[in-house]
């Protein structure tokens, strides 16, 4: 049993940009995105004693170039944290930031940390997926994984094969709703609350990024139906029902409940349990199913106890495989109420904390909800899930 509660104090992110030369962050360094997010986080939490931050864990999938050199340490120094603050880098592909959170949470639970910073960054413009990787030939030679397992879009196509009831139409409808729900949340001001503006240099002048670049509020079902299926002729996975290629960074403060209280920092969420699980790499999208089951089991909860789901929308079909499995309808209002990665974008290793900071905001607005889950799939066949409790919960405890 943990000696103390682990709490999520606050989280922020940069606006997510589109990857590539036309993206707003093309001339901005990845580590600077992380630094700006961290500085924004520190500025809005002045009570946080910076000399008591015991760890800085920053994730990135590709850890070279401007994402290399032990990000947690470099970002800490560049953001002006005391030189005495240690840091490290984390890598679990898409679940990088989530793993940063769970790893420092373990440290907090152990009593090793009072406060820790956990976040992630991915500049997919500077570091295309799989950059510089050299997969061991045994994977294919010994048929340990299917050749398609390394191409995420192909794993999503395979989910459609495995679950024929998950049609392209259902995927497209889910994707459309993601865009719509995001647009609604934006209109309400929900999204902006945790965005840290970023100044981004370009050849035509500095720009101030204050909003996500990727969302397409103009999306229609007809439009989605007409998109190309790049992973298979007459396939089902399109740029419209998948998350895109993006640049962005996220940061959060993870603390012991005691330390947070001592310094007047109000926890936005309490961590209940977390779990990671492995699945066949060529259907990596179903990873969150076993990881969520495991996390529920460890928490002594059932899926019915979960009032809010923040699921990373790597692909619409991949989210639907999860909801179908648990008997949750495609348009269940508990699932991704503000839309998801299909709209906001998915800068790989940064996304885990985006799920958390959105869940934390929703907890504030929903004192009727006691538990929520953040979950995501991971390339090469993994899933990660964290179950959170809402400190604002006003309902009846069982």
């Amino acid at each position: 049993m943990a000696i103390d509660d682990v709490v999520f104090v606050d989280g922020v992110r940069t606006p997510f940009g589109r990857a590539g030369e036309k993206g707003i962050y093309w001339k901005t360094r990845a580590d600077d995105l992380a630094v700006k997010a961290l500085q924004g986080l520190l500025e809005r939490n002045p009570q946080l004693p910076q000399d008591q931050i015991d760890e800085v864990a920053v994730a990135a999938t590709t850890q070279t170039g401007d994402q290399g050199l032990t990000l947690g340490r470099t970002v800490g120094i560049l953001a002006g944290l005391p030189i005495t603050t240690p840091g490290y880098a984390i890598e679990r592909m898409c679940a990088g930031a989530m793993t940063a959170v769970t790893t420092v949470a373990g440290g907090v639970a152990m009593g090793a940390y009072d406060f820790a910073i956990a976040g992630g960054v991915e500049h997919m413009g500077h570091h295309p997926m799989g950059e510089g990787s050299d997969p061991n030939p045994r994977f294919l030679a010994e048929r340990m994984v299917d050749g398609d397992a390394l191409i995420m879009g192909k794993t999503a196509e395979k989910l459609h094969d495995r679950f024929p009831q998950l049609t392209k139409e259902r995927s497209d409808t889910f994707a459309l709703r993601s865009q719509q729900k995001y647009a609604e949340a934006l209109t309400r001001g929900d999204i902006q609350a945790d965005l840290i503006p970023v100044s981004a240099y370009s050849d035509e002048g500095w720009r101030l990024a204050t909003a996500d670049e990727a969302p397409r509020p103009e999306t229609t079902l007809e439009g989605l139906a007409g998109l190309k299926t790049p992973f298979r002729p007459h396939g089902r996975v399109t740029a419209g029902n998948a998350s895109g290629l993006n640049d962005g960074a996220t940061m959060s403060i993870i603390a012991s409940g005691k330390a947070a209280k001592q310094h007047g920092l109000k926890p936005r969420m309490r961590m209940v349990s977390f779990a990671f699980a492995g699945v066949e790499p060529d259907v990596m999208g179903i990873g969150p199913i076993p990881s969520t089951e495991k996390a529920l089991r460890k928490a002594g909860l059932s899926i019915d106890d979960i009032g809010l789901f923040e699921l990373n929308e790597a692909f619409a079909v991949q989210v639907l495989s999860f909801t179908d499995h648990f008997g949750i309808s495609d348009d269940d209002p508990r699932v991704n109420p503000w839309g998801g990665a299909i709209a906001t974008g998915h800068p790989l290793a940064s996304s885990g904390v985006r799920l958390m900071l959105q869940l934390a905001r929703q907890f504030e607005q929903r004192p009727d909800v006691r538990y929520g889950v953040t979950a995501m799939c991971v390339g090469l066949g993994q899933g990660g899930s964290v179950i959170w409790e809402n400190p604002n919960f006003k309902g009846k405890r069982k």
């Binding site: 600077d32 630094v35 700006k36 500085q39 924004g40 560049l78 953001a79 002006g80 840290i196 503006p197 970023v198 100044s199 240099y201 050849d203 035509e204 002048g205 500095w206 720009r207 101030l208 204050t210």
Partner: protein, 712 residues
Amino acid sequence: MGIREEFADLANMKTDEVITHSYVTDATMPSGKTIALITLDNNRDHKRPNTLGPLTLIEFGEALEAQRKRAAAKEIDGIAVTGKPFFLAAGADLSQVQDLPNRATAALLPKLGHRVYSLMHDAGVPTFVFINGLTLGGGLEIALNANYRTVNEGAPRAIGLPEVSLGLVPGWGGATLLPNLIGIENALKVIIENPLKQRMLDAKQVHELGIADAIFPSATFLERSFLWADSVLTGKTKVERKKIGLVEKAKWDVAVGIARKSLESKLGTVPLAPYRALDIIKEVKKGDIAAGFAMEDEALADLIVSDQFHASIYAFNLVQKRAKRPAGAPDKELAKPVRKVGIVGAGLMASQFALLFLRRLQVPVVITDLDQGRVDKAIEGIHGEIDKLQGKGRVDADTANRLKGLLSGTVDKSDFADCDWVIEAVFEELTLKQDIFAEIEEHVSDEAVLATNTSSLSVEQIGAKLKHPERVVGFHFFNPVAVMPLVEVVKTPHTDDATLSTAMVTAKNLKKNAVITRDTPGFVVNRVLAKLLGTAMHAVEQGTPFEDVVEAARPLGLPMDPFVLLDLVGLRVGAHVLDTHHAAFPERFHASEALTALAEENVLIEKDSKGEPKGIDKQALKIVKKFVPKDATPYTVDDLRIEFEDGLADEIKRMLDDNVVAAAEDIDLCMILGAAWPFHAGGATPYLDRVGASERVFGATFHDPRIEGPKD
């Protein structure tokens, strides 16, 4: 009529200006307000800072006018200006300024600057400048003309108004606006005092002085600046500034008066620019901006076409460019590594060398002398100097330990065996130096470089007893070694390229500027100074009053008069320099018996309680009088001035004809770096050309065309 049409003469000039563009982007603030951001960017890499030429100003003005229109249409709530990464702007594009063909066109440039920058005064919405990096001259004036300023904490110590050091004044509003923003005393410091000391401001000072209203850390500088601007727009932040009220105005004239006196005593009255700046600063006490700008217009128009400005740019380019690519330097690849340094001698000069080599090369340094006591004393002294550096925070404790650990002393020259570079700094006596080098050659490898710091002996002769004279090079420092930026690298007929290259690379690693000279008496600096000082002493020995000599030398604009200079270098050394030059060139250089006598009594300059020179000592006057022959004819001031000028022109021409250095530029570079001769004279030769000395002496000029301003 648009700005482009108003200033058609500038807009249509044939030009190779690297235009700094004005890119406009809109930024949405948390309050919902919109700020139009103008980014100044020449789209070159960090080696080419933004500069401001006529076309740049016009484009910037057009961008500002467009934003004013949008402000009037209520499309935007504020206008901000910043620069590309690391630079706001390095100031006016001096090559463009230098090319202005006549006074009439030159007069347009300050007017254009005022016309454009003034668009930020009453723009309809508040204007901001985010000083993001290096910001000099006209760059800082962009900021001064805006309503509000922020500064990046991480900006380099390269913010300021260096104009007067280049023969100009801050004439795009700087001289007028700054005193009314930060007060008279601080403005004088920024506009007059700092540039003349080659000193600029860092971001903290910019904020503390009140030039910037707010300072933000580097990583989120623009984001924070925007947020701050938003809070100014919404009224949440009220900007407090220094009040330029009656108290400030009461001390105005006194402060300007003190500054003027200080200038006169330090620089003399020859340089035009600082005094023109003072005139404007004095005048803007009443806060009349228009009147100040009109004076700036007038001053810049005059100065841009002045000989002094053109000579200053020439000098600036020598120091910035030629000094970094020394003429005649062999391929750097030929340089031999210097992994251990030996220093012969344990006197004051040797100790200064040891400290410099330790700090800059961070290799083992071994010093030697005949006597262990002297060696120990020198080591102790150098340790003391390292401690002082540590005390001042110039080196940390680890580095101090490292430097001390690298230093050793010996009386056994075999300890030099593995030295790659040996430099001697013993008494100026030929056989002594010859024997020392010969002895060292017994111990060191055949490739080790032997360098001599001689100032008056033949380097070739010093190496005469060596088996390998090709490894000998002159390496002549100036005192104080740590401060003076020049090394004369003396090449003998035997010096090989590897040795010469090693000397050049070593000088660079010591952070010195090296100029290659031939092995001729006095090399460059001492020979030119000997000519000047010899003439000065000869004049007083001919009964010319000291004051007249000082007066005759004044137009040269030297940092000090000849007698104060003699006092500074030491009378004994001065007499020795004159003697050696007289011995080498008896028909052209005067030796001075009077100076030798003065040196014996060690008396020349009378000083006040602070050690500042007051005049010539009475006893010195008496001594000199003894050497004036009965039939002597004193010089008139005018005749003596011509004697100075013609003497220098003649000697420098001979040096060039004799290939002492590669070009006149190198003489000037040496005089600027080694003797602090002024930029506004271009060192020596541009001045000698423009006063007609070159024509009088050899019927031509050092520079063709002359380094001078347009004459119409």
